[in-house]
Amino acid sequence: MAFPTIAGSSSESGSGVFPTLVFVQGNEQRTINLDHSPFTVGRKVDKDLVIADPRVSRDHAVIVTENGRFHVVDQGSKHGTFVNGERVQRQSLEKNDRLEFGVRDIAYVIFNPQHATSNTAREFLSQISGMHISTETTDLEKLTLFLEAARKLNTTGVLDEILVTLLDATLKLTRAERGFVFLKTDNGDLRLAAGRSSRGEPMLDDKTISHSILEDALKSNSEFVITDTSQSLDLAGRQSIVAYDLRTVICIPLRKPQVQATREPGTEGTGETPAEVMGALYVDSRFASRDISSVSNDILRAIAHEAASLIENARLVQAEEAARRYQQELAIAASIQHGLMAVTIPEVPFARLCGRNLSCKEIGGDFFDAVNTEDGLAVVLADVSGKGVSAALLASTLQGMIYSQLTARMPLPEIVAAVNRFFTQKHIGEKYATVIIARIRPNGELEYVNCGHVPPLLVSGDQVTRPAHGNLPVGLLKDATYEGDHCILKPGDKLVMVTDGVTEAENANGDFFEDFRLEAVAGKGSLDEIFGAISNFCAGNPLSDDCTVVELRYTG
C-alpha cells in the first residue's frame, strides 16, 4: 500500500521537508519524520510509532494531514489521547504541541518542535534581500524587523551562528564587500569572532583590516565611524597603497545594552563613562568596487544598537547552556557518589548491623561503611565538614582510605592517623572530618576510635552510657595523635552511632533534638523509631544537615 507523501510547507520547518515528531520515553529520545499520512500510533508492532506500554491501546491514534495541516485523531483508545494535557478526540496540531497516548509524562511526543536555528533567520534575510532596497526608511524598518525576529528566535541560538547572520545582514544593508565581528575576550583583548564576504564566503583572518581604525573607533564615543584606509596608520606602511587597495571602512562599536540611568543635576557636561564596549562590527569595501561611504546613518545607528543586544542575548543563552550542562555534571557526580555510598552490610553470625542516612542535599558529606575482617566486624561513620560537592569529594576519598586500611588490618588508631596525615598535608583548605570507627570481635570485645565525633551510645539492657574517649577530628591539625579505647559487649548490647545532624536537628522553635532525646529513643527503639522521633520532633522543619544513624548489635 502506498501512502501519499507530504511535502511540508517551507515556512513550518526551515529545511523545507517533513515536519518531525520527537518521541521521548524515559531516557530515550527519537526524532521521527512525519513523511506519510495516516501516521499510526499504538501498541501493535506494525504501527509507525510503537509505544510499548499496557495503557496504550493497540490501535491508539493516527495523525493525518488535511489541507496542509496536521490532526491527531483518537481511534477509540481506552485511556485517551491528550494534546497539551487535554483529552481530545480530534485536534489540529500546532508547532510544539505535546501529545500523550494513554500514558502521561512517562512517554510523550512533541509535534514539529521549532528549533530556532539561524536557518529561519537566514530565510527571513533572504526575503529581505529579495526585496528592492530603495528608501532609507524601508531599509531601517527591514533591519529592525530582522533583528527583532532574530532576537526572538534566538532563544536557543548559538552565538557563532547569530554573528554570521548579523554579518550577512550588515553586509547586505551596507553593500560592503566584506565584514568582520570582533568580540572582547575576558582579558580585554579583541578576538576575531566571525568574518564574511558579501558572497557568503567565510573570512578567516583579519590581517588586511586596519586595527588602528578599529581601536580608534572603540575608544571614541561615536556610534559608528566611516573612514578610509588612507587614514590608517598600520596599513599604510605595510603595503603600497594603490587606488585598487584603498578601502572605505565602516566600524561600528558594539556597546553593552544598558539601562538608562537618570541624569543627576549638575553632572551635565562632565564626561559620562561610556557604556562598556564588548566588540565591534567592521565592514569595508574597495573604492574601486563599491562606494559604501554614503550608507544611511540611520541604518548604521540601528545596527549599532540592535547588534549589541543581539550578541549580549546570545551570550546570556550560552551562559545558561553552560550552567545547565554544569548542573547535569553535578547530577552525574551525585549519582556516582550515591553508588559509592551504597553499603553492603556484611553478614556475620555474632553481630547485626544496620544503618540509614537521611540527606538534606542531593550530595553530602556523611557516610558510613562496614568491613568484615579476621579482626572482627568494623563499622565506620564519618561526617565531613561543610556541605555540597566539596564535602562529598572528601567523603569519597576518606571512605576509600579507611576501607582499604581496614581490609589490610591496620590498627584503628593508625588508620585515622594516616588519614589525618594525608589530609593535613594536602592543603585542601579548612576541610576536616569527624570519624568514628568501631570494631567488634566474635567474643564481644569492642574496640573503637572516636575522632571528634558525637560520642556513641552503648545500650545494655536499660542502661544507656556514652563511651567518652575521644580525639581530634582528622584533617584539622597536622601533629594530632590518636588513641583508641576498648569495652566488652554482652549479648544483646548494641552500639548506636549518629552524626551531629541528629542531635542538632532543629524544630520550628529553635530547640535542638539533643542528647537526652536521642538517649531516650535509642535505648528501646529501632532505627525506624529513632528516625521517627527525629521527624516528629522537627514537625516539618527542614533538616539543615545530613542525619545518619548506625546500629551495631552484638548477638554473641
Binding site: E430, V454, G470
Partner: protein, 115 residues
Amino acid sequence: MTLKMESHTTEGVTVVNCQGRIVFGEEATELRDTLKKLLASTRKLVLNLSGVTYIDSGGLGMLVGVYSSARSSGADIKLTGLGQKLRDVLQITKLVTVFEVYDTEQQAIAAFKKA
C-alpha cells in the same frame, strides 16, 4: 550575612567581639579575613564569642585554621565567652586541648601579660 564583628585594642591586646552565626560561607570568610588582617599587626588576639549563637563545622574549621597559622607565625588567639553548646563541641572534638579558653575577657587579656 548574619555575623557582626567589632574590634578594639586594650592593654596591648586586640579584642574581637563577634555577634551572630559563624557558618560555612560568607560569615566564616569574613571572620577569617578580619582576623588575618588584625594578625598582620598584632600578636595578641582575644576572640570573644559571647554573642555567637551558632558555629557550624565550617566555622570551626576556619577558627582552627586561623589559629594554626597564627601560632606558626608567633601570634596567639585566646577564646572567651563560650556558650555551653560551643564548650560541648570543643569538648567532643578535643579542641579544648588546643585552644586556650577563659571565662572572661579580662582573664584572657591577663593571660597574655603573664606570658
